[in-house]
Symmetry: C2
Subunit: 460 residues, 2 copies
């Protein structure tokens, strides 16, 4: 079995496991107590904080441990917004942030604040000038991830931080995906991260608030973690998390080069071995271990199960794999195909043979799903003439609307149109993406009796 | 070394340790994912939820796991208040709740809500009729602990729950100290608990919201834990926590009887072997493992260090052991002496010999502290006549003001008064408590040039 979903959660690093075991013996007591068990716990906590601060590149008193990366983001956004309340209530985020950031932004909006979501290009990156343009007099905080969790694209954090600094606006960086690989460059103000992404145990996040940043923790608080993260410290997990961070950092340069070569193989060879595939995300400025592609005419959930049976655990941003039936907001913001989406995220230590085997298995897995769904085999020659067509795919889920479109496009004369009726939200993303991939013209959408009509003009 | 601070944190139960180790292998993946590691994690999470629900006595879908007991309380109070916003914004708590409940109440007040803090008697218990009297038309929620964390007194939860139910007000029970011993009786609506109190690892709390209770989670949320506890589930710790709960429950009846006998020994023998001691908390309706007493003329921090040197780890609610210099709000609400306070909380499995050794060591430890502080040895006979006295103890910390009072009381004629000037907040609690213990009359306090004058009349 090959586990290729490190971006969701990585198995516990052996060093973390040792540290966890040792600190369950030494660090279970309350570090706020005066007795020897408490003092011992306090020493362990202080040492963990110093080591974590060294890895992040901050002062120990700027760093607190939280119960998760999500808690770090929620506490960081709320505290920074409240601390800058006098400046205003405007928040800037990118459109491709982790859901924890977007949920915090939604809560802020529901509470009367305003939010600007900065768009990304087709590679998933923001433009620093777009962040600069979003800055307003009343901007209290800007948030930007160091790298994207679904497609691996690195963001221009240093340039955005410089723009924010010039405007006197703090920048919160969600470094969840990158902190195991190295420090976040640039003059950021707040940083959040999550230990189980770098081989630490679950239950530990980091929140860093630079000295001088106005910060007012929200909600009930206590004396622990500088009043920024209430509740009994999860000390054994904290110690293990920091041990793991140091261990993965020690191997980071070498392992990054190795994984980058492996993901380069996938990026290059998937389009060669699987027809009708779009590899997404920046090919160069990206995390070493993540590669994401989407397969036309494929249902993401079925493909995941097919790959699972073949021994590969991957993830997907397709709508058919989520409980909400909404395709990944990241793929949507990038304007790329979401159907048949596969994210491969390699854990450190992944053997090259596993990647080779994945590349051997993938074509058959995709073909099997396509065959089952009755996907079209190849494009036909355009007929000399014919009328405009309507395809009714209402009541049918992704990727059926696109499959139906592909089936009839051959019957449409060049210059003619086909109207695809669909009530699946994914069609709004996947039909334009299909047009882009196929060189056909996406005309636009119109309301229909049931769902929406997506109009496509045959160009070639 | 004997660890007698189980009420702060208990060492990891051996069963929890095994479960943690196994679930680090099996349960590190994201339970929201479709691949086999994710499905395996989901199965473990579902099984843990069922077992926890069985132990609590609720439905599995009423129970979510939180990162700590504190998070469970904060989320429970905020969600229940918001869910009942239409009823009003009045919150009832007891004066002796855990700080997490009191902090949540303070946040509610700062946000414009109103709070009634129900007083307790000298044993630390609330009167159900006082809770009933506090209920108002606009009461949204009432909170009551199952048992007190500092003195072990059990609260009349079932009777209070009945009153609340009759008024249509939900009752949230903080069961942190008692859940390891058994289910909470009565028709409560919400329940919070903390795994590291029952020998589980830190990083796990429980929040139970009964079906039919109006509940609106506050702050940013996500799909996890029914939208009531955002962030990646700490699954290995959850599995370990539930394994520990089942294990301690299996031994609970027998171990409760054994620890109760041991704490009864302490309750009975401490006043016999140490002069000027007040044992606090209900002698009968109490947790099996907790006993708390206060020693006149003793500085809590010094006594803790003295006992630590003698091999005993205990806790204290004295102001001199906290960073805030405010004596325990529990002792204050009970109106008992706070100086020289010692909480002994025995972990399951404590050998009787350890308790016997503690009883042998304690008298010398207390005597050593008293000698160092120059505490009075014995009361003198009252002089025939004399003027009213003033003792200036300003600038001096607990227990010096009481020691100075005790030194001069012999110089005051019966019927005469002594005014103790003090600027230490603990004096407000400890001087009346001393009068109660010594059979002298506490007249009251008056503002003074520096600090406050506490007036005591010699009666005998």
């Amino acid at each position: 079995m090959s586990y290729f979903d490190a971006a969701s959660a990585a198995p516990l690093h052996p060093v973390a496991r040792q540290a966890l075991s040792a600190s369950l013996d030494e660090g279970w007591a309350d570090p706020a107590r005066l007795h020897r068990e408490g003092r011992r716990a306090r020493l362990l906590l202080d040492a963990a904080r110093e080591a974590a601060a060294e890895a992040v590149g901050c002062r120990p008193d700027e760093l607190v441990f939280t119960p998760s990366g999500t808690h770090a983001v929620h506490a960081g956004v709320a505290g920074a917004l409240a601390g800058r309340r006098r400046a205003g209530r405007h928040l800037i985020v990118s459109a491709v942030e982790h859901s924890s950031v977007l949920h915090a932004a939604e809560t802020h909006e529901a509470d009367g604040g305003s939010v600007t979501r900065v768009a990304v290009d087709r590679s998933g990156a923001v433009d620093p000038s777009a962040y600069a343009a979003a800055l307003r007099e009343d901007t209290a905080l800007a948030c930007l991830q160091s790298a994207n969790h679904e497609v691996g694209t690195e963001q221009p954090v240093a340039a955005v931080a410089e723009n924010c600094r010039a405007a006197g606006v703090p920048l919160l960086v969600d470094a969840a995906q990158s902190l195991g690989w190295g420090r976040v460059a640039g003059d950021w103000s707040l940083l959040a991260a999550s230990a189980h992404k770098w081989g630490g145990p679950p239950g530990v996040g980091l929140l860093v608030v630079r000295k001088g940043v106005r910060f007012a923790p929200q909600g009930p608080s206590d004396d622990r973690e500088s009043g920024r993260a209430p509740g009994f410290e999860n000390l054994p997990a904290i110690v293990a998390a920091v041990a793991s961070l140091r261990a993965v950092r020690a191997e980071a340069a070498e392992e990054a080069a190795r994984l980058r070569e492996l993901t380069d193989r996938i990026r290059a060879r998937v389009p060669a071995v699987v027809p009708d595939v779009e590899v997404v995300g920046d090919p160069v400025r990206r995390l070493p271990g993540i590669v994401t592609f989407s397969c036309l005419y494929v249902d993401g959930e079925t493909l995941l199960h097919e790959l699972d049976r073949a021994g590969f655990s991957v993830s997907s941003g397709s709508s058919c794999t989520s409980s909400t039936l909404i395709p990944s907001h990241v793929l949507k913001a990038m304007g790329v195909l979401s159907e048949g989406n596969v994210r491969v995220s390699l854990p450190p230590g992944t053997p090259a043979e596993d990647v080779e085997r994945f590349l051997r298995v993938l074509p058959d897995a995709v073909a099997a799903v396509r065959e089952r769904l009755g996907a079209p085999a190849a494009a036909r020659t355009a007929p000399e003439s014919g009328t405009d067509l309507v395809v009714d795919a209402t009541g049918r889920r992704c990727p059926i609307p696109v499959i139906e479109l592909a089936k009839v496009i051959g019957d449409v004369p060049v210059g003619g149109t086909v109207r695809v009726l669909s009530d699946d939200e994914a069609a709004r993303l996947d039909i334009p993406a299909w047009c882009e991939m196929r060189g056909q013209e996406y005309v636009g959408e119109e309301p229909a009796d049931r769902g929406t009509a997506y109009v496509v003009r045959r160009v070639s």
